[in-house]
Symmetry: C2
Subunit: 251 residues, 2 copies
């Protein structure tokens, strides 16, 4: 039997939010490859299936290992937290397969990505157009990050910040906060979600002026509202512009 | 028992991609409210639970009905296809609740949104920063849409177009194609997915020069690649910039 790779998004890290299609793909696999933290989140699924896990920044090694397993005839599941296609493993595995002449069947399966999980906990901050920007400068120059941030803010997108900070690069987050305040003002609503739908979950809603003092880490997502976002009843709500108080053309 | 509203994203419209948490929230409800097409997609779930469905552009009526049911003491499920927080029902229900003084408990639950479902079928077009833009001018002036499109293209975001066209407003899509070609050139990879993970699914990959001739409808999502997106092995792949052929700092 020839090998295959399924690249699977497991959602926020709580099996209630991992789709049945993802679970059934895991059940079909003969080996599961992933970042160790994500393997731990699905520990109770398919406990008999061998796993290959490793640590942060070893994603190229992980992807190569997945391809090596498939070449041996394995049905490989590569897991990413959230959705594998958003800052996840999908691109890397597909890129490496393009350098490879083996016929390995590959499929990408969607998951609930961090921005939708965070948005749900904050209220409804993404009802209009939005942009997703990673603040990690591991593979992207910080000038590119700041240019995109400024462009998104000036065009009135709501903005989701992935990887807002790590111990190593707090400076990028601080510059990002300054750029956002400079373009949007201090009073723009902002939300911060840590560990969405996991035991350590925390949700904070405040103003842009407070963002640089909020406590955040690798498991955090920041959502900056657009010009139509307000804070009401403890939630961030971006109005899409319905007329709600009249019997108008909306009916 | 006092009433509550759970706003639930049911994913792409195939129950394999609807999270267990969403299904369990539906099972707790005493009435389900939604756009009729989405109610049809979950017809086999909780068949005994009463439903209130209506048609397109009647979302304000739907949201008001949900609140009315909750005021009567119902545990109301409001369903949106995809994720309820992305161009879905979450914002409208929360906005209306803010005009209301009744204490109704409300919760937003995430789903797999159209952009991740489409991206998975196309390959990995969203590995870097991206923007989501709706081409519907129902509530947003077309000038705002075009301004955001141009800003996103110039800042090298991959771009997901929601609601790319309808019979009524083909012109906006054509102008959008012209703006994209003008800023990105004709050779930029683009993907079009219709009815992702549903029986009528279709996936097309091509170049921006071909986009205006692709067949698309209300159930379509368009993803325009960024400068690092190529077409290989029949898929759109956006490189995140890993060095793959050397034993480099990636290991």
């Amino acid at each position: 039997m020839s090998g295959s790779i399924r690249i699977i998004g497991t959602g926020p890290g709580n099996l209630s939010w991992c789709a049945p299609g993802a679970i059934s793909a895991l059940e079909k696999s003969t080996v599961i490859v992933g970042y160790q933290t994500y393997l731990d989140q699905i520990a109770e699924l398919c406990p008999q299936t061998p796993r290959y896990g490793n640590g942060m920044r070893r994603e190229v090694e992980r992807a190569k290992k997945a391809i090596a397993f498939a070449r041996e005839g394995h049905q490989v599941a590569v897991v990413s937290g959230g959705d594998a296609g958003i800052y996840g493993m999908a691109g890397l595995v597909l890129e490496l397969l393009c350098l490879d002449d083996t016929a390995i069947e590959v499929e990408v399966l969607p998951g609930i990505t961090a921005l939708t999980a965070a948005a749900a906990l904050l209220g409804a901050p993404l009802m209009s157009d939005f942009a997703a920007i990673s603040l990690s400068d591991y593979l992207v120059p910080s000038e590119t990050i700041f240019r995109r941030l400024r462009a998104a803010a000036l065009a009135d997108f709501a903005i989701c910040l992935y990887n807002p900070t790590s111990a190593r690069r707090r400076g990028i987050f601080e510059t990002a906060c300054s750029i956002l305040i400079e373009t949007l003002g201090e009073a723009r609503p902002v939300g911060l979600v840590r560990a969405a739908f996991r035991p350590a979950q925390s949700v904070q809603i405040g103003l842009l002026s407070e963002l640089s003092r909020m406590e955040l880490g690798m498991d955090s997502i920041v959502i900056v509202g657009n010009s139509a976002t307000k804070i009401a009843r403890g939630r961030m709500i971006s109005s899409r512009g319905y007329r709600l108080t009249e019997n108008s053309a909306n009916f």
